[in-house]
Subunit: 230 residues, 2 copies
Amino acid sequence: MLTLFHHPMLASCRFVRLAFGEYGEELALIEEKPWTRRKEFLSLNPAGSLPVLLAEGDVPIVGAQVISEYIDETRGVLKRERRLFAEDPMQRAEIRRLVDWFLTKMESEVTRHLVRERVLKPMMPDTLGGGAPDSAAIRAARANIRQHLKYINWMAGTRHWLAGTRLTYADLAAAAAISTLDYLGEIDWREHNAAREWYTRMKSRPSFRSLLNDRVRGLSPVSHYADLDF
Amino acid sequence: MLTLFHHPMLASCRFVRLAFGEYGEELALIEEKPWTRRKEFLSLNPAGSLPVLLAEGDVPIVGAQVISEYIDETRGVLKRERRLFAEDPMQRAEIRRLVDWFLTKMESEVTRHLVRERVLKPMMPDTLGGGAPDSAAIRAARANIRQHLKYINWMAGTRHWLAGTRLTYADLAAAAAISTLDYLGEIDWREHNAAREWYTRMKSRPSFRSLLNDRVRGLSPVSHYADLDF
């Protein structure tokens, strides 16, 4: 069994868990608090960032997108119509663009700030940047959620799955980000029916189960978080 | 001939030009000022970011890493020992980690800030965020350069090329970032002999020529910028 260093409330880590989950492969999970900069962890990844996969031979593979390419090269290519990636280079580029949209752009405009202010800072010691949440950062991030939800709603309404007719990494990346925000009650599902219908389908997948069981100490999810018929 | 929407002082754009240059393929370049958010450009890339490649059939491919995967899938695989990527999934992961290091981590810690404050802000109208450079941002970025130079120096001293025995995307990404900073005179080459020797080799490659000819209006490069024997 491979090992993933992760944090349950980081979208990039959830994305990797979903990808392995879709291929029916279990992972040993080690929760890493990224702000502690543990020496042993830095020796695996000098950048100190998550996720890190210990792959075959305990070689560290660093970063969600790098791991997803590795999964595709070593597992995905063998999965035929269950492959989470396309064959065609142009379609692959579109899937990669969307993964980057949700794990980099939405992350830097929305997700990172809400997770830092609402989840991580209350756990971090003051000396490492912990403390009271910055309400201006929270307000700015909340103002940006709507355009991302609208984008998902538009894609889900026209394409069935976000990158086309098949479930791909694009869906996993979007659902990873949305699920983190939904835990925190930051998603207003009214007026986004296509997105909601798409997310209901995502949540019902067996790969999603472990994400819906995640709990952060001292911070319960909203009541509909794990509800498959919300 | 394919078309690249780029800015000459963005490392991510320089990286893509180097990759096509190494494969001997010319690009039509269109300089895009990212802060103007032109409607026609946003229709190619709703994120408004650079670079964007108009590939075969004028299909837009968005983002440096996505473009580099596309180049590998459509060109690289045919290049045998001139391929800028490895065959082995683990080695591919290591190359991707390094590309991400230089185009995302170093970008967010160093390059983006110096380019914004010293190159872009003086060109931008006040209403779109232009104006006097923020000296605190410049100081913070400068403080971070050294660790990245040390990392390059360590790799160049032990591996010949940054990811091993062959020239790969890792070298192109590092050289793209370094060349932008070197234009601005931000690199102190003393005490980093292995990095300097590696960068001299990179600069001497035909693919580098067009980068060394880049000039930004009103901002001349340091005297050694285009000097192959600096």
